[in-house]
Symmetry: C2
Subunit: 315 residues, 2 copies
DNA sequence: TATCCTTACGGAATTCGTAAGCATG
DNA sequence: CATGCTTACGAATTCCGTAAGGATA
């Protein structure tokens, strides 16, 4: 048994059981991969992969059972290097943060600024994507820390911790009729709306609110980020619904924001990381900078916990 | 990084940093071990072992931090083989149970009989030793399951689950004065006692009871097991104090047992296993046979839950 | 027929043990 | 001076990529 074999197995699953693709991903030859897998199967005495003729089609039942252990071993190998790097390079290195647009644009900047000030030697990589993409980047190791409002707590191999809560607000041109009087979903429903795409920045909670009130909304335009939304509201296309953090009185002077925290469900922004993955020391500092209650002492045990069970009662 | 290197590191710690001894343990040459360790250190970039001149004297701080991960990786390698064996050999294989004398002699026999009946293909190895030895056998992998009253819950790398509770009883010849009237510690203290050695079968709780009552006991003879104790009580050497399960009315006809459950603290027998170690399917069946409330569904999650010490704290 | 996996083979790199060297208690 | 680790070196093994072969959608 060696790590090359384990890597081949993991990558084979990731690549949809296409060994040619695995070979490319691992920068080696395809027959090599074929051998690695066969050798491991021979050593263990069980077939890990189901085959249709010569082609691999999926995992066998033993394969499904062994795969998590294989992945943990490779993760631990990575952890070993990370821990060593921490001692070798101290507060120097890189940190990959994946975030949704809203977080990257409105929530992260101050944390990034403060972190840069205290950790000038750390090169920050900021990746942007949908919540699902953020989760995927954590899972495949291309991001250390993920920040999004959802999706991060829907995978057993990720640990999600709440950072802060937020709600949406309504943005309108300064002379809009909605500014006067109480804001209600019913009044809102009367106007064409401009808001987030399905699956972005709490769009779900907007839909939920209208659905629960039995109201239909007319979305005239949807976009992935608040900047685009606000631009179209300025053009008079409709009423905007964006995350409160996305509105700044000075920067967005041509518009007015209306408090809408009673109208829509509260959203929670989560910070997520791969369960069991050791991160560089400064990564935990970054989390703390972003969400001061998430200290390393809080985060580490949560991240390593396997998900507990009840203590059995003796007779 | 390869498993040979990891094994060398683990064994070096186990062998007290004597590489010559490590080489023997791993059936290889000493320069080989020396190289394995140095190569791993070179690859990681940090020294794992502290050295005085050429000799290894202990772990460095990085070494202490990395060691748990190294051990988990090797344990996972072992787990992989175990899981594969389960699919290869089904209900066939060996099972090593380590137990204290009391457990092996009085508590285990019916469980062993029942298990043998349902799993005729499993070769049982029953090891005997002190509670500390049982714990050690679990830790170094020479036993799968440990059964003892203490010591199993004192190590972060072991998981201990309560099986059943028991107390001591007093055994005397059939004409003894203690048979009449209420049994008290004070009356007991008046007689020479025959009981377990220090560290065996709840000897601690006997000492505690007398100490708390402010009474001195005169132990005329102590032994490691109840059979020896009962023999000397038969010879009239003194009054015996043994575990209740160790007395059988018919088998021990020449003696009388007096209920002493109010006199001494209750003891709990524990079943222990290595944290995170995957066992063969039938091993969990054995535990269930011995303690019916400890079903595989209860035991597995408990065993895999993260314990202390597995992961180093940051900062 | 194009894709994908296996087998065969030869060169290269790695691994490992023996023997000798050196520091230390 | 005995113990314990390192260095040096040559043999054996393992590893890996190229090339050819065969099965399947």
């Amino acid at each position: 048994m060696n790590f090359q074999q384990l890597r081949a197995v993991r990558e084979a699953v990731r690549c949809g059981y296409n060994l040619t693709e695995v070979a490319q991903a691992l920068h080696t030859s395809q027959p090599g991969i074929s051998r690695q897998i066969r050798e491991l199967e021979d050593e263990l005495g069980v077939a890990l992969f189901a085959r249709a003729g010569k082609r691999l089609t999926g995992l066998t039942e033993p394969g499904r059972e062994l795969l998590p252990v294989v992945e943990r071993m490779l993760l631990d190998a990575h952890n070993l290097r990370r821990l060593a790097d921490d001692h070798l390079h101290g507060e120097t290195g890189t940190l990959s943060v994946a975030a949704t647009h809203s977080q990257a644009r409105y929530a992260l900047p101050t944390a990034v600024r403060d972190f840069r000030a205290t950790h000038p030697q750390v090169r920050l990589h900021l990746h942007q994507g949908s919540a699902q993409q953020v989760a995927q980047m954590l899972l495949d190791g291309s991001a250390d820390i993920g920040i999004a409002s959802r999706a991060l707590d829907e995978h057993a191999d990720l640990v999600a911790m709440p950072c802060y809560r937020w709600t949406h607000c309504v943005v309108v041109p300064p002379d809009h009729a909605l500014i006067d009087g109480e804001l209600t979903l019913a009044r809102l429903a009367a106007y064409p709306l401009v808001t987030y795409d399905q699956g972005f920045t709490g769009r779900g909670s907007i839909d939920d609110a209208f659905a629960r009130a039995g109201l239909a909304m007319q979305i005239v335009l949807s976009a992935m980020d608040a900047d685009v939304i606000k631009t179209y509201v300025e053009l008079g296309l409709g009423v905007g619904v964006v995350a409160s953090i996305a509105f700044d009185e000075q920067r967005d002077a041509p518009l007015r924001a209306l408090d809408a925290r009673q109208l829509f469900p509260i959203n929670t922004t989560l910070v997520g990381m791969r369960r069991g993955a050791v991160l560089r020391r400064y990564a935990y500092r970054f989390v703390e900078t972003f969400a001061p209650h998430l200290t390393p002492a809080i985060v580490r045990p949560l991240q390593m916990a396997a998900g507990g069970g009840a203590v059995p009662a003796p007779l």
